[in-house]
């Protein structure tokens, strides 16, 4: 078991390293002009610009830059943002932004799981009836309609109807409501969809028929056997979900003016803030790979079938 975990961990590290190096090198292919703010290009001559680039260390060979980056990383120095937040230490940035995103993300995850599982249960309990149709309709709308449309609608119209704030304020809990709900919409659909699917799969299993033959009522079977088994594969996604709460959503954070991490990577890439992009990519890669890894580990604890296979 330990050997297996170590092996997996090593593989994960290699993957992260490859992802990181690929991104690092890709960034070095970007044109140098991207490092200048618009005003700078208008205001400065070429000499000034080169001086600026040299001061940032961007004119060194990419390998040298990579080496420097890795060295600093091990020293715990994440560097400073270049263009997006000039000179601001990235640790400061992350320390400011992650808590905001993670806070909303955590509640939306909780809401997503609770409401999603409830919806999934309702759909199975009332299979092929109104509850199921309703749930399926919701899932279909969330998954098929471009999210931009309904997120925008929620911010503009729902906020009007219920007289809720249109943007996020860190001191007004009421203003957290819409972002949290908006964030949770798709995960509610996701949990409901998969719970339903897994439960329907389980429903056809022999042991469920056997449980019925044992004389258990339909709801007891649903609760003690079907639901219990169906959430096991879902639980594998829990760690990834938990880690993901810090990545935020570009659209929702833009709409509600949430000072979180949502649009950070996109902005950083567009403005060629290499230092920021590198750290973020590294962070997200670690997160997603770690998420899968932890999910697998978790599964071995909650699913007795897997422990036995090892």
């Amino acid at each position: 078991m330990t050997k297996y975990i170590l092996k997996r961990l090593l593989r994960s590290l290699i993957t992260i390293a490859i992802v990181f190096v690929v991104v690092f090198m890709l960034l070095r292919f970007m044109p140098l002009n991207g490092y200048f703010p618009d005003e700078m290009i208008k205001e400065t001559d070429e000499q000034t610009r080169m001086a600026y680039l040299r001061n940032l260390g961007l004119l060194d060979h990419p390998i040298v830059q990579l080496g420097r980056f890795v060295k600093n990383l091990f020293k715990g120095d994440l560097g400073r943002s270049i263009t997006v937040y000039p000179k601001v230490p990235i640790t400061t940035l992350l320390a400011e932004k992650i808590p905001v995103t993670a806070f909303l993300g955590f509640w939306s995850m909780l809401l997503g799981i609770v409401a999603g599982l409830a919806m999934g249960l309702m759909m199975v309990r009332f299979r092929d009836r109104a509850g199921d149709t309703l749930g399926n309709g919701y899932i279909m709308i969330i998954r098929a309609v471009p999210s931009l449309l309904y997120l925008f609608f929620i911010q503009v119209q729902i906020s009007k109807w219920f007289n809720l704030p249109m943007v996020y304020y860190d001191d007004k809990p009421l203003s957290w409501l819409l972002p949290i709900i908006s964030l949770a919409l798709s995960s509610i659909a996701w949990y409901a969809l998969w719970l339903r699917r897994f439960m329907v799969d389980e429903e056809n299993q022999d042991y469920v028929k056997f449980a019925t033959v044992k004389g258990l009522s339909k709801s007891a079977v649903l609760k003690k056997h079907i639901f219990r088994n169906a959430i096991i594969p879902l639980s594998a996604y829990l760690p990834a979900d938990l880690l993901n709460i810090i990545s935020g959503s570009l659209v929702i954070e833009t709409l509600y003016a949430i000072p979180g991490t949502g649009g950070l990577l996109t902005t950083a890439i567009k403005q060629q803030d290499n230092n920021l992009v590198q750290i973020l990519v590294l962070m997200y890669a670690v997160m997603s790979i770690l998420g899968v890894f932890l999910g697998d580990i978790l599964l071995t604890f909650v699913d007795p079938r897997i422990k036995l296979a090892d």
Partner: protein, 700 residues
């Protein structure tokens, strides 16, 4: 869609019965009731004229066409039939467990003074299920929830039905586990199904089923998925539990050997009807319905080596169509004209025995007598074939130190471990073992399906065929060696027409001169396996299992091979069809001078068809000997256990048989390593020196 109507209303409104019909029903009931005094106890459950319909893909299927049956207290009733006969569906109606698309359209189900057909709510059924009538399913591997401990799963029934506390239920569960023969029940209580072997799991399932002391225990093929040795143990367990708890057991099976072992009473089902009913001796000693007779006669145990088995033609009828006359008539060579005209009524044979065949009509007495006389003569005239002569036999295949490894969850698992044997030209060598013993792997290794993970050497006609081969060599091999597969459902490509399936080998090596030539070849091989040329444009799903297996055989034979690996070719087939396939294989062997490697777990069929038998256990061959020799003088304890467990379709011998148990721990191979030794000419055994000593003594 059916809206929420009263379930009773689902019983189809039919035209009022004519006086004749009422009389026929009365008559039938009278005959069925006649056996009442001969039973030991009270009548518990009484099914009368139950009809079940399914709506399948828009078409209406009548799965049960009016079945009547009684279950009496403290007895074992076996319902015998092949798949699709409706035996499972019928018993499911006792528990209200029909699938969503099925419904009871007619009949009565009396249990404790209530007609269960009229049950409409779940609550009504909850009083019966588990508590009064319990059920054990076929596959123990899937009957238990894999993520809950077995203790919880049993205790939950006790808590549910008797409202006991968790601790009480736990104590009771542990007691139950001990009762079904599970060692260390306290420890096992907390374990998950995955930590149990198949046999143990079935014991747990049985423990669950008897947790509430049900009056009736329905066992739906409880041993079919188990290995022979385990099967015998589970049967013993059910029998002893039945005696102890004074339950009635309804035993559903297709295996006549099992029936002979467990049943007090037997009902034979065919095409949704019970065609014959009687006590176990009636059925085995004097079967009356042509179907029962044919079934018993086609058993390989009763065949004479070298002669064709008695075989039932064709395949069971489609229940989508309305059946006129006797459902079995189209397959019955000796059917009378009336069998096609009118459905036979029940005829009593004795008070304990009735059958649904016109043969019992006094009007058919002459015809029946003639048949009996002819059959007796036929049986006497069969002369057993002389055993295969090995003196001048050429080795076709030699296998030396064959090992096959698989990677399972990171660790290496040797499915086959250093196996050596020869196959002589023209013989049938059978490889017998339990599931997971590695028998199929050997076959596939010889067929070069596994290549990278194979060690050791296989020679074909003296040429090495393991390792890398040139294209031409491969082609040659494909022309000489072919394989027949176990599952006729899985081994034919569902999306290809029969024409393509059969000519696949021809296409691969362009073994035909022209399109006409190819078609001719396909048609000729199909007719050889008993199928007509018009089938070529159909898809596999249009065929029954036996037909599909014959298509599979045709596909292999069209390559004109010398050697065939038959991987359990009959185990997935219905009883009534097995004989057809066995006969076909034997016929092909004779006509085409084939050599077979026959892989099987069913010793009864193996004895009939093979010249030599090799027994494999956990990747090792443990014994190899000519068939009769092996049956007469089994040496290895595993072989003995295997032979002792083989069910025999004779209630007398079956009741008295003594099971030999095999425990691999009995071998002490820590110092004295076992070897593969020829103990007497042609008789090989896997044993160490000390054991060999013992075996030698045993022979002499």
């Amino acid at each position: 869609m059916i809206k929420k109507k009263k379930k009773a209303a689902l019983l189809e409104e039919s035209a009022p019965l004519t006086p004749e019909e009422i009389e026929a029903i009365e008559r039938e009931r009278k005959i069925i009731d006649q056996s009442a005094p001969y039973h030991n106890g009270e009548r518990l459950l009484s099914a009368r004229g139950v009809k079940v319909n399914f709506n399948l893909r828009g078409a209406e299927l009548t799965a049960i066409r009016g079945a009547s049956l009684d279950v009496y207290e403290g007895e074992t009733l076996a319902i015998v039939g092949e798949s699709g006969s409706g035996k499972s569906v019928f018993t499911k109606t006792f528990l209200g467990m029909l699938d969503k698309n099925g419904r009871i359209t007619d009949g009565e189900l009396w249990f404790h003074g209530e007609d269960m057909v009229k049950y409409t709510t779940e609550e009504q059924w909850l009083k019966v299920r588990g508590k009064k009538i319990a059920m054990v399913f076929q596959d123990p591997m899937t009957s238990l929830n894999p993520v809950r401990t077995i203790g919880e799963q049993i205790a939950e029934v006790i808590m549910w039905h008797f409202g006991k506390t968790h601790d009480e239920a736990k104590a009771e569960t542990i007691e139950l586990l001990a009762k079904v023969g599970i060692p260390e029940p306290e420890k096992r209580y907390k374990q998950y199904p995955g930590q149990f072997s198949g046999g143990m799991r079935q014991r747990v399932v049985i423990a669950t089923a008897i947790a509430c002391r049900p009056e009736i225990l329905i066992c739906d093929e409880p041993t079919t998925a188990l290995d022979v040795t385990v099967q015998a143990q589970v049967l013993d367990l059910i029998k002893s539990l039945q005696k102890e708890l004074k339950m009635s057991v309804v035993f559903i099976t297709h295996d006549l050997g099992v029936v002979a072992n467990v049943a007090d009473w037997v009902a034979v089902m065919y095409a949704g009807k019970i065609v014959e009913y009687g006590n176990v001796h009636d059925i085995f000693k004097s079967p009356e319905h042509p179907y029962t007779k044919a079934l018993l006669r086609s058993l390989p145990q009763l065949g004479t080596k070298g002669n064709d088995l008695y075989s039932i033609h064709g395949t069971p009828p489609s229940l989508f169509k309305k059946i006129v006359g006797d459902a079995f008539a189209p397959r019955n060579v000796d059917a009378m004209k009336i069998d096609f005209e009118e459905e036979p009524p029940v005829f009593p044979v004795s008070d304990t025995h009735w059958a649904r065949t016109w043969l019992l009509s006094p009007q058919a007495a002459d015809y029946r007598a003639a048949l009996i006389k002819r059959d007796a003569e036929l049986h006497e005239n069969q002369i057993p074939e002389s055993p295969f002569d090995y003196t001048n036999a050429e080795k076709l295949i030699t296998v030396r130190d064959l090992s096959v490894k698989f990677k399972v969850a990171g660790s290496i698992f040797r499915a086959v471990d250093g196996v050596s044997f020869d196959i002589f030209k023209g013989e049938t060598l059978s490889l017998v073992g339990e599931s997971g013993s590695g028998k199929t792997t050997i076959g596939r290794a010889i067929m070069r399906i596994y290549t990278n993970n194979v060690d050791g050497e296989v020679k074909f006609n003296g040429t090495k065929i393991t390792g890398k081969l040139s294209r031409a060599d491969k082609k040659k091999l494909h022309m000489q060696m072919q394989m027949i597969f176990q599952d006729p459902m899985a081994s034919l490509n569902e999306r290809a027409k029969v024409d393509y399936i059969v000519s696949e080998g021809l296409y691969n090596y362009h073994l035909y001169e022209s399109e006409e030539d190819r078609i001719a070849k396909v048609e000729s091989i199909l007719s050889e396996v008993g199928l007509t040329g018009e089938f070529t444009s159909r898809f596999p799903h249009e065929f029954s299992g036996g037909q599909r297996q014959r298509i599979g055989i045709a596909r292999s034979l069209i390559m004109n091979p010398d050697f065939l690996v038959a991987d359990e070719p009959i185990s997935a087939l219905d009883v009534s069809i097995r004989a057809q396939v066995i006969n076909l294989l034997n016929k092909m062997k004779r006509e085409r001078k084939l050599t077979y490697l026959f892989i099987a777990h069913d010793l009864s069929a193996v004895r009939f068809i093979s010249d030599r038998i090799a027994v494999i256990h956990k990747g090792h061959l443990v014994e190899l000997a000519p068939a009769e020799e092996l049956f007469a003088h089994p040496l290895h304890p595993y072989t003995k256990a295997l032979l002792s467990a083989v069910p025999h379709p004779d209630p007398d011998t079956e009741r008295d048989k003594v099971l030999v148990k095999y425990d691999p721990a009995m071998h002490d191979y820590s110092e004295d390593k076992p070897t593969w030794t020829e103990i007497t000419p042609g008789h090989f055994i896997y044993a160490n020196e000390k054991e060999l000593e013992g075996y030698r003594n045993e022979i002499s």
